[in-house]
């Protein structure tokens, strides 16, 4: 059965800290891995990763994929209170047709205290 596992489930840090969030997967016919940030209701897209070892970066956030060991990490440097959110990881499979149904992890809840 396909699964995506995120760790830790929750994390509390102080402003300025650096955090690393983990996402491991066991999915047949892997196509891509996506990271989202969910603050209230709607998840917002952060990164999509398809190739191993190529870092994607946006400001203080970066992510990398390891397709051999089947995991990805999301790094946030110099954390701010606005980074407090649930970070979701999802995997897209190659399927017949255009179905890109994503397999979701349960998320990591990050709280950044001032």
């Amino acid at each position: 059965e396909d699964k995506v596992v995120q760790s830790p489930l929750s994390l509390v840090v102080h402003e300025g800290d650096t955090v690393t969030l983990n996402c491991s997967y066991e999915v047949t016919n892997f196509r891509s891995l996506l990271w989202y940030k969910q603050e209230k209701k709607a998840p917002t897209f952060l990164f999509m990763l398809t190739s191993s070892g190529i870092e994607k970066k946006s400001g203080r956030l970066s992510s990398i994929l390891d397709k051999k060991e089947l995991f990805s990490i999301l790094n946030i440097t110099a954390t701010q209170t606005g980074d407090s959110a649930v970070y979701l990881c999802a995997v897209a499979k190659s399927r017949a047709g255009n179905n890109r149904k994503l397999i979701w992890g349960l998320g990591t809840s990050l709280a950044v205290n001032p």
């Binding site: 709607a42 917002t44 149904k101």
Partner: protein
């Protein structure tokens, strides 16, 4: 351009009533997905539309749930004879054809009393 919109943002209903939730995807996005997220839980896939057809309905939890999409755009998720366990946030997402990145609407919070 405009993002995915959903209405209503909140819906409170009594057990046994029917509800309709609406999703208006990003213009030009042919793929549309409905998800459900219960409190403290992950995203649960419900149904996928490509154009007006639904090739994957595997996530609909019971025959009380149905969805349709017209004109390749707006979609409506209908829950008949609502139960308390239907209380959740219902999220809609859209994407370009055959693209993995999905863009989410703000969701509808459904509370069944």
């Amino acid at each position: 351009g405009a993002g995915v919109s959903q209405s209503p943002s909140n819906k409170v209903t009594e057990k046994g009533k029917d509800v309709e939730l609406r999703c208006d995807p990003i213009s030009g996005h042919t793929a549309l997905y409905w998800y459900r997220q219960s409190l403290g839980q992950g995203l649960e896939f419900l149904i996928y539309f490509q154009g007006n057809s639904a090739p994957d309905k595997s996530g609909l939890p019971s025959d009380r749930f149905s969805a349709e999409r017209t004109g390749g755009s707006v979609s409506t998720l209908t829950i008949q004879r609502t139960q308390q366990e239907d209380s959740a946030v219902y999220l809609c997402a859209s994407s370009l054809q055959a693209q993995d990145t999905q863009y989410f609407g703000p969701g509808t919070r459904l509370t069944v009393l």
